[in-house]
Amino acid sequence: MNPLYEFEDMEDYIHDRMSPSDRAAFEEALQSDAGLARRVEALRSESKVLRMLRNEHLLQQLNDWSAEGEAGEKTEPPSPGGKGRYLSRKWGIIALVLVALGLAIVWITNPNLFRTEQVEKGVTPSSIQNEDTTSTAPVAPSRPIAAEKTPPAPPVQKPAASRDFAAIAAKAYMEEDFSQTLMGAEEEASQTPYDKAVRLYGEKKYREALQLLATPDKNREQDALYLRGYTYYHLGQYASAEADFRKFRDFLDSDRKLDAIWCEVFCLTKQLPGARTRLNTVLKEITANPKHPYFDRAKALEIALQQQ
């Protein structure tokens, strides 16, 4: 082994982190030092070993999950449709009754507000979702839907069209200042995972923020969900971002309900042209209500899309 070069230098070489002069010197050493060349080759093979180890670990984990799932099944009494389905149906009915009750109370106390909400609910999440899945029945929002069918993937875009869609998406995007949602938690120790995620988001450390947002923060569920939607967006995971924003439709009470619908819109613009039908549906929902705060933007977007 060339004493001039350590393990870290080889890593820098492989990951192209050397200056041109250092790189040239390293390559010269590689030519004359068989030991160094062998070590570099071994380091290049490391990723394969790590992949194999990862696979080994994953298999173990998958076996554990399967065993957990099967243990859960065994404790449930058999029923023709499966108890899980029965339970979700039961909870679905209870949720529907609660929603109806809530709406009735709101209507009694404030009929005008009820009218606004009705317009807003003109298109249900399930009717939008049905475009992408084979499911036709309304689905409980918190229950993951089985991935049975790939939504139509966007065809290969022509460069000009791609630029146009990018311009539309850029215009539709609306940045949010999450630092305002912090409740004055200045000291590191007193910060909740949400507070930390906001800080990381502000520093554009989206992956780290996402790690923190994966854990439920029940006291600030809506804030966390909204932030996670934005985080997904910045990571380019537009379908996941859209799914998070769409969850706001299921909250009975939320200050962010209307904003979240617009967030759905800008996530959908990033998925154009494949998501065109879904985008049109949400835009129609907004433009059906002239009092909707995003009415003008939705109209302008509709026009821009028609010109495509």
């Binding site: 070993v49 984990q61 790939t150 993937a153």
Partner: protein, 202 residues
């Protein structure tokens, strides 16, 4: 807050994210999907498989699928995730059975029915047993702790997560331990050319 997997797009995004939490959530979702399991069960029964093969093949298919996603071998425009997984599981089962009962006429006959369909995915060289034997040989020399550390490191766990799982004092201690293991692995592979050669052939 649970991850919501509404469709194939959200699953793919999670698998491509490079974030261990998201990858695990997507794989768990698929692993516990009863419809998918049912479809694999149906396919394996045609091939003469038993109930215990279903779980094994589904899990192996999920690992192979993740590798295909990362290597951009999976094309979502050609088949849905569930269809793709059923095909991988069937092919894996076929390969396993063929090696076990190469001369069984009945087995060969039943395989012919699905073979044409499975051949749509030619990239299924997934020799788990060979890989496991190689890893056993390699990591016997570096130790079990290194195996665990590198498993988690290979699965993009953060140093904080590795420290928590393997009970290191801090993320920095975990980072140093990972670094040491990688150095050990590098020494081993460079000093034993036969291992490197075997690795190339896997």
């Amino acid at each position: 807050m649970n991850h919501l997997f509404n469709n194939d797009n959200t699953i793919l995004e999670a698998l491509r994210s490079g974030v261990s939490i998201q990858i695990n959530a997507a794989l768990r979702h698929l692993c516990l999907n009863e419809k998918l399991k049912g479809a694999i069960r149906q396919q394996l029964r045609i091939l003469g498989g038993a109930e215990e093969d279903v779980r094994e093949m589904l899990n192996q298919a999920l690992v192979a699928f993740l590798n295909h996603v990362e290597e951009n071998k999976y094309d979502p425009t050609r088949s849905a995730i569930s269809t793709y997984l059923v095909k991988i599981a069937a092919q894996m089962y076929y390969t396993k059975r063929r090696s076990e009962h190469r001369r069984s006429a009945m087995h060969d006959r039943s395989m012919d029915v699905v073979q044409a369909d499975i051949e749509m995915n030619p990239e299924l060289e997934f020799n788990l047993q060979h890989q496991r034997a190689f890893l056993d040989k390699l990591l016997m020399m570096t130790g079990e702790k290194c195996r665990q550390l590198l498993q988690l490191h290979g699965h993009s766990y953060t140093m904080a997560e590795i420290a928590e799982k393997l009970q290191y004092k801090s993320p920095d201690s975990a980072k140093m331990a990972v670094h040491d293991c990688r150095k050990k692995l590098n020494n081993l592979l460079s000093e034993r050319p036969e291992l490197l050669k075997e690795l190339r052939e896997i």
